[in-house]
């Protein structure tokens, strides 16, 4: 078993870097706070005798050697960057749990055949530099290194310069060909485990995602003198699309999701008919064909609504991730570990994107979820129970050991 208090204390110490008054963490990717958190992780891993490598996108690989040279590595990891109003657990838990696995192995003097590696993936959140999951995306060849190094933040600073500034522009060529298994433990970021009263989510895969930006342009006009029949109200069209996005998702349960998260209304004056609306649409499903059908419905809908309301519509895809089905081996390892440890568990599909999903494209991967309070994350009040975090960490230890010992 891992050490519950040691895990919690490390999480709390890490959470001091960028701590916000409301109890959250603001430690965005490649800032000086991110450097401090990386330095702390590296220091802790070195103290456990791990070797450290940093690659060109700043991913940090901390390796505990195995007994048999040349065996493929059993990996875990997550990210330590946060949202601007992030919490203490999203990402950090997966990295600190990996460290706790190594500390436990050292403490009990357990040798593994395969090397054990804990990875910090760069810029998972993507809030300072889009897109999200940048480090794992580059590592797995899903994203292009040169393009990613050139991405800039709102101040015009590039990823490449930011990496150099914080001293994490590495030279290591870390091969992605020799991964036996990758596990990521993460808070669920949703309400399902809590609702079902289960401690462990055996993650079988992740929803595919299709994101769009939509601009609707009508005619700005005075709300008083302009008769209803002569209006081209961009917000009225946006309202219809918002409802339809939800209807499309509801028609494809249990896995369909449809969300309008951004809606900017111009000019935004009480007595002016909105002339333009910029909005985002986020569609998700576990089945690739269904997700495509949902996106096609959206395209048709936008055409129909904009025609009926006399609007110009510009629909731009901004993200497209296919659904991920994790490797049966890894899923079984997680289920087996949970059973061995006697923890209540259930199969679950990740609604959110995670680094493990990119890793799953090139190697066997799996994930372990633990409940988070009320399903709330990306929020300063994000919270999780020390006991649940400990249980998830134990499952991680057992699943990794199963893969690394045999």
């Amino acid at each position: 078993h891992t050490d519950r208090e040691r895990l919690w204390d490390s999480l709390m110490e890490l959470a001091r870097l960028g701590a916000t008054p409301k109890g959250g963490v603001n430690r965005q990717a490649l800032t000086d706070l991110d450097r401090q958190a990386r330095d702390l992780f590296v220091e802790w891993c070195r103290a456990e005798g791990c070797s450290i490598r940093v690659d060109a996108i700043g991913n940090i690989f901390a390796q505990r050697p195995g007994q048999e040279p040349g065996l493929p590595v059993v990996m875990t990891g997550s990210h330590i960057d946060t949202q601007p109003t992030g919490g203490k657990f999203d990402g950090c838990y997966g990295v600190m749990a990996g460290l706790e696995v190594i500390r436990t192995l050292n403490q009990h003097n357990i040798q593994t055949k395969a090397p054990i590696e804990v990875v910090v993936w760069t810029n998972e959140e993507g809030c300072r530099f889009p897109p999200c999951m940048m480090g794992s995306g580059v590592f797995t060849g899903q994203l292009e290194l040169e393009k990613m190094l050139a991405q800039t933040d709102p101040d015009g600073v590039s990823v490449g310069d930011a990496l150099t500034n914080i001293g994490y522009s590495g030279k290591a060529q870390v091969s992605s060909d020799h991964i036996k298994a990758f596990f990521e433990v993460h808070i669920e970021q949703g309400p399902i485990l809590e609702e079902c009263g289960k401690t462990i989510g055996v993650v079988v895969g992740a929803l595919g995602q299709k994101w769009f930006d939509l601009t609707l342009t009508g005619q700005e006009a005075h709300a008083g003198p302009t008769p209803m029949r002569l209006r081209r109200d961009a917000l009225l069209g946006a309202a219809e699309i918002t409802q339809a996005v939800n209807r499309i998702a509801n028609e494809h349960q249990p896995h369909g999701r449809g969300t309008v998260g951004v809606m900017q209304v111009h000019p935004g004056s009480r007595n002016v008919i909105p002339g333009q609306v910029n909005m985002s649409i986020d569609l998700r499903h576990f089945d690739a064909d269904t997700l495509t059908a949902m996106a096609n419905s959206l395209v048709e809908l936008v055409k129909d609504v904009s025609q009926r309301h006399g609007l110009c519509a510009e629909l731009t895809p901004t993200a497209d991730f296919i659904p991920e089905h994790f490797s049966d081996n890894c899923i079984d390892a997680v289920r087996h570990a949970s059973n061995q440890l006697g923890y209540s568990h259930m199969e679950i599909v990740s609604g959110a994107g995670h680094d493990a999903i990119f890793i799953g494209r090139i190697a066997p991967a799996g994930m372990i979820f633990v409940p988070c309070e009320k399903g709330i994350s990306h929020n300063e009040i994000e919270n999780a129970a020390p006991a649940d975090l400990h249980d998830g960490c134990n499952v991680l230890l057992h699943a990794m050991l199963e893969q690394a010992i045999i």
Copy 2:
């Protein structure tokens, strides 16, 4: 007849004060630019031999004396403050047309029995200091002087201080008891005259207005892991209300209006279910009972929608103007003048609020509309044809003369 070129030149000279690169005017109430515009108006009126009075809310009264002392005054006027992205005509036309009436009377040496007065009403737009129509509201006792002097702009400057700063905090006690008739000529700010091909709108009254601010609060949550059935999406409720506001208006044609102009969505992130929406609702109708019924429908609707979506709703009335029916005398004077001059005309209801509507509560009042290009106003591209502006000014002259001579 009035002088078309003189009217146009005065309008263009006034439009230089606060001119924007896109051809509009940004001359918000009680700024130094407003002072310059007021000074220019006063200078022009003095040159025509008018006496000038300024009251405690900064309204400027320029009087051309009548032949018979003690007769009630025949008034005209409008405002010279603009929206931040305003045009050259909204308000300014009504003031410059009044000045042109006086210039024409002087030029042709026409004496009137009753005095003729041109008024600049303070802060009609209300964009720097709410509410709108402040000057005419105080003058007619609809708004309280002390409260209005204490209103502040976003920098914390009060109306009282701003008036003092620009030298227009006056001492004149201008009685509102002796008004024979008040006329205001204004661009339509809507598309109806243009659509119907008429030059003059004989304004029979104005829509009543009920404005509301609505805050809907749900639960902010991650768009991926949160199932549709567990959501409390504030934007989804807001979308339904937006559509219903339009439906309520459509059910009460031809005079019903319903507009959602403001919608602010929090936190406004692509993959976060909106936890809160702040929106505005603007309902208008010409019939007071119908307007009340529309507002009642809104209240019911908000209850129903928020219950169904698990939202907290806070609906706050922010403005309430009863419909105005102008005096038959004034309406007839405008129609008669249009007929005499041979101008095409039609009855029209003002969809927007105007100073004349407040004056109509205490004295006989009427309005004259002229077309504006595509019905666009509160916009830097606001435009009107010199010929139409001239025709409207001639109608004003004739209508005022009819009232002032007899």
